[in-house]
Symmetry: C2
Subunit: 227 residues, 2 copies
DNA sequence: ACCAAGAGTTGAACATGTTCAACTCGCGGA
DNA sequence: TCCGCGAGTTGAACATGTTCAACTCTTGGT
């Protein structure tokens, strides 16, 4: 974690470095952006950037937080735009589509996403301790999506569902990262087609024959989550 | 892709570099191993290593291939050891457990390996073009696991299942990479408990109410797989 | 007003993946 | 045997992430 700057000027310097980094990431990609270029555009020395961000990857962590906030806002707005339609499929589609829209601008340098995801020792992993706030905020979006819907599933499943849907979203991100189609058309298609199926599958969990297995799956998820 | 060397001496030099790299990766990890150290241990110049391997990451590809081969052998042996037991759950458990066994030796360094492997633009990504041979070999293990089992699912699902099970295995790997428990006990527990559930879920796919959705899911998987 | 302490800042130096022009060597053909 | 060509090899140079000792600036206490 980067320390919160003590003074107002320091906060501005930190913001300037972050803005410069995100701007350059967007225009030149992650590898194409040098720390020296970031520092220069921010009007500070190369070394000074390291006073605020202990590594180049930590700049990406700040980017995650920003992306997360943008998605939360866009998702809330999209859900608002549904005006009373409570079908879960509509709400889930809105949330996932909002993410693809928000993130599309950064698709080119998205490789760094999963580079961080797979490094378990790094605090940048979405599963890490350090990412807990951002992750829980993301899970919260799905909790709201579910709570405002007409979805009917068992109590146990409903409790785990927000986190499971976040996991699903990570899967979408994985697909998106590898999606080379223009404007990530294939990812959008995947979302459009997968959402109704997920809705149907969730409704199936209440069918007598299915219910037993689902309960056991939820039980496994629960025991595997905790340490 | 690295070119096949023309002469016998060149082939030996290439092998020496590779051996040195794998040795140092094991003892010092990926980041702790410098190309200069690899070259020195192989008895060549730093620059010469790049004549045979166009980047440090290309050296890791060899490690993956080795791991993949070891798993294929161990999985085959484990399936042999079942001696006629054709229950899919037994067979799947054997294959997944074999992977955890084989990989445990490298768990300490796996984090740094997979960090680099997870980048989609990297040839080390399991989804990349360059990894196609290793990936297909891994899928083939699951195909054999299914073919030798008593599993009864629809024709369409059965065709996609090997690839889906490979995906499941990638999920296990992701969990394993983050597993800090001694001897990766939690991953082993996950496999033990998840396998019977997967078996039950697969058998459920033939139930009339469920069948329709499953067909649609398979259809989606199919259309999303191809470009 | 002054001073000490600590925050903020710098530029140079370092480590390492990678590139490259130049060199050597081995071999097939004349 | 000798030549020339291309594979193989080198060491230095380069690019860039990162570190660090030294410096400056700000602030709070007396």
């Amino acid at each position: 974690m980067t320390e919160t700057p003590a003074t107002e000027k320091a906060r501005q310097t930190r913001a300037a470095i972050l803005d410069a980094a995100l701007d350059l990431f967007r225009s030149h990609g992650y590898d194409g952006t040098t720390m020296r270029a970031v520092a220069q555009q921010a009007g500070v020395s190369a070394g000074n950037a390291y006073y605020y961000f202990s590594s180049k990857e930590h700049l990406v962590q700040a980017f995650y937080d920003q992306l997360q906030e943008a998605h939360a806002a866009a998702a809330a707005e999209a859900l608002q735009g549904l005006e009373g339609r409570t079908a879960y499929s509509d709400r889930l589609r809105a949330v996932l589509s909002a993410w693809v829209d928000i993130a599309s601008e950064y698709h080119e340098f998205a490789g760094t996403f999963f580079k961080n995801a797979a490094e378990p020792t790094s605090p940048l992993s979405p599963f890490s301790e350090a990412s807990t706030p951002a992750r829980e905020a993301a899970v919260q979006i799905h909790r709201a999506t579910i709570d405002g819907s007409d979805l009917k599933v068992s109590k146990a499943l409903r409790e785990e569902l927000p986190e499971l849907m976040w996991l699903l979203q990570m899967g979408v991100v994985l697909f998106w990262v590898h999606d080379r189609s223009p404007d990530q058309r294939r990812t959008r298609e995947l979302v459009e087609r997968a959402v109704p199926l997920i809705d149907r599958l969730l409704r199936l969990t209440r069918v007598p024959v299915v219910r037993g297995v689902v309960d056991d799956v939820v039980g496994l998820v629960r025991s595997v989550k905790g340490p």
